[in-house]
Point group: C2
């Protein structure tokens, strides 16, 4: 939304700039923050003083001199509060207790036996309560809860989550009324993208495409360093991109959807002789050199490459990160995927583009979900011209 500007806004912008500069570059001195941001030394001093009294920044004594007075070292106080990050999967609920810098303090898992809302909510609430109880004492306590869900999300509402059978669930409102803490709800791929962007394979990337390949395919799109959710929160539903105009019929009503060829959905294809039906088991067989499994992974890799090429042509990202359950199979997918992308992309893309697999692995989504809550707490206001 467009806002008017006044001195209060000026202060907000500069304070946010200083806070995030310290967060990303600690340990730093006031002088270096002044250099890096371009703000006057006096301004930095004043705002740092406020940040210190808010306990978001701490002073950690003198550092090394570089030919003059020793600098006073500043740190971002990641222990000023905690957040809870949650990933809701089809058969499992994972939750972490994190500090404000994405550091995991506690981790809890819980199997889900059903998907009806009351049951899932009960499990979520009990797992959240357990983590809250374990939170270390801190100035702000629990400052937020972030949830990643396998479905489309708009403004805190789960519009549709086919694998859970959910539709129009006001998850944010429900959890906020239970815990009286700000709650952020994100699509699972979007949360994963946030995780990799801030703590994983994609730090400081401006235009990132995170592809979550598991039971389906979803993408988290980062544009200009920020999550792009589209007009109604449906952006990134790339699994239903057609890659075969007259291909297999899909449950979505279309044909030839990408995820029919490049996700775990392929494990149920007819005519296959796979020794298992989950990625982690298949990975074990691949390690032992089972030919059927190797071939199948190669095929998935190639089809992943086709879809990835399409997305590259549309988005021209700096980096692509492959995450989700299938990222476990990187050793067998990576080669074919990169080969197909190299064969099919326009020559200009090849120069700059990098393709990596998730660095946070299965934790990317929970950490990213938690980080959404952190950013909601810290705020991040900027000026674009």
């Amino acid at each position: 939304m467009r806002v008017t500007a006044d001195q209060a806004l000026v202060k907000k912008i500069n304070k946010s700039l200083i806070l995030h500069t310290i967060r990303m570059n600690a340990p730093v001195s006031r002088a270096r923050v002044s250099e890096m941001t371009g703000l006057n030394k006096a301004t930095v001093s004043n705002l740092v003083a406020e940040l210190c009294s808010q306990e978001l920044v701490t002073e950690a004594g003198p550092g090394e001199s570089s030919g003059g007075r020793k600098p006073l070292i500043l740190h971002f106080n990641a222990a000023a509060g905690s957040v809870i990050g949650i990933e809701l999967r089809v058969k499992q609920l994972t939750a972490v207790l994190c500090d404000l810098d994405g550091g995991v303090l506690q981790e809890v898992d819980c199997r889900l036996e059903a998907h009806d809302l009351p049951y899932v909510l009960e499990q979520m609430k009990s797992i959240i309560s357990a983590l809250i109880a374990q939170a270390p004492p801190s100035p702000y306590g629990i400052v937020g809860i972030g949830v990643g869900v396998p479905g489309m999300v708009d403004d805190g509402v789960v519009l549709f989550a086919p694998n859970l059978g959910w539709e129009m669930v006001e998850l944010r409102a429900i959890l906020e009324s239970s815990f009286e803490v700000p709650v952020t709800i994100d699509n699972e791929a979007n949360a994963g993208a946030q995780g990799e962007l801030n703590f994983g394979a994609a730090r400081d990337v401006r235009h990132l495409l995170y592809i979550s390949a598991g039971s389906g395919i979803g993408s988290g799109i980062i544009i200009g360093g920020e999550l792009y959710k589209g007009a109604r929160g449906y952006a990134g539903e790339t699994g239903h991109m057609t890659i075969e105009a007259e291909g297999k019929p899909c449950s979505c009503g279309s044909r030839g959807c990408w995820e029919l060829y490049a996700s775990e959905k392929t494990y149920d294809n007819q005519g296959l002789t796979l020794p298992a039906r989950t990625t982690s088991e298949l990975v074990r067989h691949a390690i032992q050199g089972q030919e059927d499994v190797l071939n199948h992974f190669a095929s998935i890799g190639e089809y992943l490459g086709i879809g990835v090429t399409n997305l590259i042509n549309s988005f021209n990202p700096e980096l692509i990160v492959i995450g989700g359950a299938l990222s476990e199979a990187e050793p067998w997918l990576g080669g074919p995927l990169r080969r197909v992308v190299a064969e099919r992309t326009l020559p200009y893309h090849k120069q700059q583009l990098e393709i990596t697999f998730s660095r946070l692995g299965s934790r990317g989504t929970v950490i990213g979900a938690g980080f959404s809550a952190v950013m909601h707490f810290l705020g991040n206001i900027r000026v674009t011209l």
Copy 2:
């Protein structure tokens, strides 16, 4: 880029906000601008006074009273300066002289007999000089030149334009040194998107996908009201999206590219018995009911629908505008296109999404190119939180 904030920035932001509020809502009074923006009446008065003395805003006497003192009506002064918009096509150069509100004052065409850079530059320069000579006297004169080119552009450089045989042409630098006026270079589809966004079928849309279907297919992507160019300016090269994994080989090195099935490239397909090879001629035959032509347009429409569906799933735009030469064939493409999109998109997309054809027709790109120059002159700074 991230910027620090001070009072000068505050003023810039608010002045820009007021200017664009007047531009988009004229005629308006100071009081209404104050209401609409949320800025204090005094602030509006001060900044409007400056805008008036800069001749960007004019006072047009009293308006109707609504029960009190008559308001003083303000207008955006579109005549404060002029811009030149240029579209470079394979066989043609089109240029317009516009006022600051996209109003076309003069229009010139010129056939291109060759594509070598010196020849094209000569034509461009002579056409620009001719329009400059015709520009009406105004406070600021010619404030910029905007060019739309059929190729990929990054930061004023034409990276690659296959249909012209251009590579790494520093077009902005060349034109700026010739005319000593700011020059903006944009991809043709991006310029078209700007045109439709500001003056055509997509006014005030936040997330727009403009699809330029002609000799190939390119897309202009508007995200959050702004052009998205990607990491290196290659975003929107959607014509090379694969829609048939093992389809026809394409000159780009890939297979099954969208534009092989849904652009004018199909006119040269083997086994076809089309009576012509250009869209405008084929449209004439379609009007007369020629079956072969009708069938072919239907096929193009269907394939357009497949690609459009893919883009919808990725971007979740509010609106899709189909432009380019093929938009002439709307009566025959529109039905099949919309049918395929309805069949293949996820049900949730259908509710909100609109698909339109270009309203500016073949002028969209020139007008959009000119408007890029206008925005460069006026500036547009905003705050995002």
